[in-house]
């Protein structure tokens, strides 16, 4: 049994091999991860989608949808209403919607919500959602399905959703008369895009923004009020800073239904769309169950609607494998780019947080800004009838569900509308990246353990000779033992005392031991720990700083908050970059030595690997992206010693790489490159400033998203990514003696 026997036995050879080949090995892992990832686009390496949940019974019913005329009528009426009364305002035609839904004998409610904008100077936004519940005739409102449409005013720069509203109402009228519904259907029109959706969901699930303190938890045992006030005071200094929980006040819902099983979000601006884009990416990169995605695609086919996902268009047949492969890769990359930011690309994305499966169907025309698919003009445009039958099929299929979606995959990448890559297939790619970092950490650890200092001081030739000698010594012995398969307990080792080799080894060992003691003494755990703690504290501070920046910016410089936050973050980053190398010198009376820096380096690598794996579990795109960017940095970071002259150009390059990979710099650079690609005709300076503006916006969005919706990209970037960057910077900027 390997665990209970001496593992040191025969491990010297392994260590030597590891030390020699760990760099190529890490490189190989990195390349392997990328190759693996791109292979996944190929048909041989991904799978056909299939229905895992048998209860769905997709497409087994005869379609009865007959609301085409009604839908047209609703559409015209709605457009008329908007043009007449809501031409200039952003308000939602609440009375009209309520009236129409009431006419259909739905239970109609309105829902008010308020947003206290977290980074502004007390701006308040208000909004209203309208929803109607169709009670299932068969059961007692224990489960529900949701059909939702975001309301967009005519003045909005986005495509309208009028056809979606009309289709929803027509479908409501159709569904009203049927007696086979086993789940309530909630028809919901939300205002202010995702804000209304988020508020409605929070109100529906009765989310409490105040978790209560220890004392409130004591219940009836806690009576005295004055000491409560005292305890309140204790944390009040921090409360005002860290209190972002109350920026969205979801209000309360007057009418509820059961637990929501699935939701479909419609974004149709006209019935004459060419094709439907199925959007799946949700908050923090969460995805709906693959069964639902699959269901939508399959039923689109059945109803004669063209459908697509990112770069993959269902009506396009690829001539050869290579084309299909490239297309698969582009589709995967498209999905990943949508997932990375963790921002939902439709209202469906907010449902996922509550464990509700949801997708968005977006109608697109030939001249859609999102892209120009091949042979688009040959497609016959869709109409309300087809859309209605598709919707009917989807809802009747969902109606069959016996339990929540749980069967199929929740973690996947789509390579086409009908091809997917499961978690088991893409995880090796991520694990290889993290494995590279762990191997590097292991080799550093090993070099720390078996510190062969004397060899380093000698010239390379003797070094090599020694190694060869040792190899020769070790190899035959191992083989002997392996052949014999011996497990010897040593009884009288003194018999072998006089052998030369042994003497030599002995001396080395005792030398090593004594050296190790010295080494252990010289490592200051406290300073390493304090440095780590401080660096993460800085990250935490940066996470909470935007509110302060925005306040300062507005008060003293009269700048909008995105500008003040962006420049505030830049100032802080610059400050950190200057100061952080000196942090290592705190808490100690001598400069850090090689062992300490190596340990810091090992910890850095392990933290990076842990971060990669954990991120990848939540959001594979972000995990892969972070790992692919930061693995090279983590591998290149090495402790520099004063004595061994490293070429200054190499060091400079490493430092440049490190600076370039600072989260803020990376973001800005990416945005600049992106805007350069997007607007190639513009002058370079213009593209740069455009990129800077985009970066400002991106940072602002991520902060606001993290405050309102619970998107954790900004939090992870500041509390984990930034500290790891600081530590790499520290290691790169410090030199050690010896």
């Amino acid at each position: 049994m390997g665990l209970l026997s001496d593992p040191e036995y025969g491990s010297m050879r392994f260590i030597k091999v590891l030390k020699r080949i760990h760099y190529p090995l890490c490189f190989l892992f990195y390349i392997g991860a990328l190759v693996w990832f791109f292979l996944l686009g190929h048909r041989e390496f991904n799978n056909d989608t299939y229905f895992s949940e048998n209860a769905l019974l997709p497409g087994l019913v005869t379609n009865e949808f007959n609301g085409e005329q009604t839908a047209k009528q609703y559409h015209n009426e709605f457009l008329q209403e908007l043009e007449d009364k809501y031409e200039d305002t952003d308000e939602m035609p609440v009375p009209w919607l309520v009236a129409k839904m009431s006419q259909l004998h739905l239970e109609v409610y309105t829902h008010n919500f308020t947003l206290n904008y977290p980074l502004g100077q007390g701006q308040v936004f208000k909004g209203t959602n309208v929803y109607g519940i169709l009670r299932a005739p068969r059961t007692s409102s224990l489960e529900a399905l949701v059909l939702t449409v975001p309301y967009r005013p005519l003045s909005s720069h986005q495509k309208g959703t009028t056809a979606g509203v009309a289709l929803m109402l027509a479908f409501a009228q159709f569904a009203r008369s049927k007696n086979y519904w086993a789940k309530d259907i909630i028809f919901l029109v939300t205002e202010h895009e995702q804000l209304g959706m988020q508020a409605w969901l929070e109100a529906y699930h009765g989310l409490q923004s105040n978790p209560g303190t220890f004392y409130t938890n004591l219940g009836s045992f806690w009576k005295s009020t004055d000491s409560e006030r005292k305890s309140k005071k204790f944390g009040s200094g921090f409360d005002s800073w860290l209190d972002h929980s109350r920026c969205l006040d979801p209000g309360t819902l007057k009418g509820r239904s059961g637990s929501i099983q699935a939701a479909i979000n419609l974004e149709f601006h006209t019935p004459k769309i060419k094709y439907i884009e199925v959007k799946v990416e949700g908050l923090n990169g969460q995805l709906p169950n693959l069964d639902l995605v699959n269901l939508v695609h399959k039923l689109c086919v059945k109803s004669g609607i063209y459908h697509s996902y990112k770069n993959s268009y269902a009506w396009v047949r690829h001539r050869n494998n290579m084309d299909a492969w490239m297309n698969g890769i582009w589709t995967m990359l498209g999905m990943m780019s949508a997932q990375i930011a963790g921002v939902p690309n439709g209202n469906h994305g907010l449902f996922h947080r509550f464990g509700i499966e949801a997708v968005t169907l977006e109608g697109r025309e030939a001249d859609d800004p999102a892209g120009n698919p091949p042979r688009i003009h040959q497609l016959t445009p869709s109409n309300f009838y087809r859309l209605g039958t598709a919707l009917e099929s989807i809802f009747r299929s969902l109606n069959n569900l016996l339990e929540r979606f749980h069967q199929s995959y929740f973690f996947y990448l789509l390579a086409a509308t009908d091809r997917f890559i499961s978690i088991g297939q893409y995880m090796p790619s991520l694990c290889l990246l993290c494995g590279a970092m762990l191997i590097r950490a292991l080799s550093l650890w090993v070099s720390l353990q078996k510190d062969e200092e004397p060899e380093k001081n000698e010239t390379e030739i003797t070094d090599k000779k020694n190694e060869d000698d040792d190899d020769k010594d070790v190899e035959p012995k191992n083989e002997d033992i392996v052949h014999e398969g011996l497990r010897k307990r040593i009884v009288k080792p003194e018999t072998a005392l006089k052998q030369d080799t042994k003497m030599k080894e002995e001396k080395q060992l005792s030398e090593r031991e004594s050296k190790k003691d010295v080494v252990e003494d010289s490592i200051s755990v406290v300073s390493i720990g304090a440095n780590y703690f401080l660096v993460h504290l800085i990250g935490l501070g940066v996470m909470n700083s935007p509110v302060i920046f925005s306040y300062i910016g507005a008060k003293y410089f009269d700048q909008p908050s995105e500008v003040s936050v962006y420049y505030g973050l830049i100032c802080v980053s610059a400050l950190i970059a200057v100061i952080s190398p000196f942090l290592l010198k705190l808490f100690r009376n001598r400069p850090a030595n090689r062992e300490e820096l190596t340990i810091i380096n090992i910890l850095l690598l392990i933290e990076m690997a842990t971060l990669g794996v954990s991120l990848g579990m939540h959001n594979i795109s972000l995990g892969l992206c972070v790992c692919a960017l930061y693995t090279p940095l983590a591998l290149f970071v090495a402790v520099r010693s004063k004595d061994v002259k490293e070429r200054s150009i190499v060091v400079f390059c490493k430092q440049c790489l490190c600076l370039l990979l600072h989260p803020l710099v990376t973001l800005t650079a990416c945005m600049m490159v992106y805007s350069r690609i997007l607007f190639p005709e513009e002058a370079i300076l213009g593209a740069l400033s455009r990129g800077r503006d985009a970066a400002m916006q991106a940072i602002m969005f991520s902060i606001v998203d993290s405050l309102i919706y619970g998107n954790w990209l900004f939090n992870v970037a500041t509390t984990v990514l930034l500290p790891t960057w600081i530590i790499s910077w520290q290691i790169l900027c410090n030199t050690v003696a010896g």
Binding site: L3, L4, S5, D6, P7, E8, Y9, P211, T213, F214, Y215, N217, L218, G219, S220, F221, W222, F234, G235, F238, Q286, L287, H352, G355, R404, H406, F410, F411, A441, L442, K477, I481, L486, R487, K488, R489, I490, V491, P493, T495, A496, L497, K502, E505, E506, L509, E513, S514, K516, D517, G529, I606, E607, A609, T610, L611, V613, S614, M617, H618
Partner: protein
């Protein structure tokens, strides 16, 4: 001075964390609070007790009646002191561990002097110098005070804080030779969580070593005192519950029979959710034998010369294999490891174990969130992570034991491992 500063900082951190908004989240985490030790259930039991309902009739409360009475009194009269009491108990635990370690160091020095003639000449460097030994108690203290596991355990206000205190006091009592104290506290700990009963073996060895009289008499005396104490506690508890022994089913019975399969970091819940009902008894017995009895005899035979190591290993094993483990238990035995700092050089799997601890500690909450809140992952993910956490702990323990043997061997026979000119392989038997 530095020591006092450590106590103060650690105490303030704990006290402050209890008062933040995260307290609620922390005290409900599965990794921290189990059905056995959670603060929520304690409050529930006390509430029932206050309203003259027997808390053991339901299925919510499984703490011992002694703790029920104790916390009932505290809650009734001084509820505002509770955070301070928990913090203080944890600090006290650290203090007793510190004391234990410093006494152990003295004992260790003596025994090292005693065996110094039998040591091979080339292994003299392995003997520990005074300065090295002096650091040990401080390491123990720091590890207990600043280990995130024990900090979180204290902040979650679980009854494991009390358990750790009892264990620490009994360890200190036995190392310093206070038989009654050690036995009384180990009986208290046993009364609370049952698994510490295994510790009576290393404790009686320690006490016998200390008393230097007839070994057998000492063993018997220790055992007797322990049994009397335990019996007394059982009786007192019944007295508190108005003479009824029914609480036994809901405390010991609950621990042994594992009826509550709420996920935790242990190995029981997953197996028993999958188990057919009629095999349950068989597997419960198998699992409990593994946790309670299996390792005592072989380990005692092998490590009877080093009872503190035996105690460390038994505490660790029982906190890995017990039915409702939590990270508070892990934090406690991790704090005992620095006592064996001199063995670290002989340990082989430090890196693997360290990586596994870090990665599983980050991944566990991640997959838990994905499973429970996002509804996208499932139980297998979480169990996979907890299983690797348990594996890492087992690696750590076996590695520690093996390191001890290797050091012992090296001391006796010198650092070379050659038999007839060939390297030989050591096997743990």
């Amino acid at each position: 001075m530095a020591v006092i500063l450590k106590y103060i900082v650690a105490g303030l951190v704990r006290y402050w964390l209890i008062h933040t908004d995260y307290w609620q989240t922390l005290s409900n985490r599965v990794e921290i609070a189990t059905p056995l030790n959670s603060w929520k259930r304690l409050i529930e039991g006390i509430y029932l007790y206050e309203h003259k309902i027997n808390p053991y009739e339901g299925d919510s409360f499984h703490e011992s009646p002694l703790l029920l009475i104790f916390f009932y009194g505290v809650l009734k009269y001084t509820p505002y002191l509770l955070p301070a009491i928990f913090t203080f108990m944890d600090i006290l635990t650290a203090y007793f561990l510190y004391k234990t370690a410093s006494i152990f160091v003295k004992v260790f020095k003596n025994s090292q002097r005693k065996i110094s003639e039998n040591i091979a000449t080339d292994s003299k460097t392995l003997l520990l110098s005074d300065s090295q030994l002096k650091e040990v108690p401080e390491y123990v203290l720091s590890v207990y005070l600043f280990n995130p596991y024990s900090v979180l355990n204290c902040v979650g206000m679980t009854t494991t804080v009390v358990q750790n205190l009892l264990l620490a006091v009994s360890l200190w009592g036995s190392v310093s030779g206070h038989r009654l104290l050690a036995c009384a506290f180990i009986a208290l700990a046993t009364h609370q969580a049952l698994y510490p009963v295994t510790l009576i073996v290393p404790l009686s060895i320690l006490l016998a070593d200390e008393s230097k009289g007839c070994n057998k008499c000492s063993y018997i005396r220790t055992l007797l005192v322990f049994v009397v104490c335990w019996g007394f506690l059982v009786y007192i508890s019944a007295y508190i519950m108005d003479g009824s022994y029914s609480y036994v089913y809901n405390t010991y019975g609950f621990i042994l029979n594992v009826p509550d399969l709420k996920p935790n970091i242990g190995l029981f819940w997953y197996f028993f959710t999958e188990m057919f009902e009629h095999f349950r008894l068989l597997f419960v017995c198998a699992f409990q034998i593994n946790a309670l009895i299996l390792y005592i005899v072989p380990l005692t035979l092998r490590f009877k010369d080093e009872p503190v190591l035996l105690a460390t290993v038994l505490i660790a094993l029982s906190s890995i294999f017990r039915s409702y483990p939590c990270i508070g238990d892990v934090g406690f035995y991790l704090a005992l490891l620095p006592i064996w700092k001199h063995l670290f050089n002989f340990m082989q799997q430090k890196f693997i174990v360290g990586c596994a601890f870090i990665i599983t500690s980050a991944l566990g909450p991640t997959v838990w969130h994905l499973w429970i809140y996002s509804g996208s992952a499932n139980a297998n993910f979480f169990f996979g992570v907890t299983l690797s956490f348990a594996t890492a702990q087992i690696f750590l323990i076996t590695d520690l034991m093996f390191a001890y043997l290797k050091r012992e061997f090296t001391l006796k026979h010198g650092s070379s491992r050659l038999v007839d000119g060939k390297p030989a392989k050591l096997v743990l038997r």
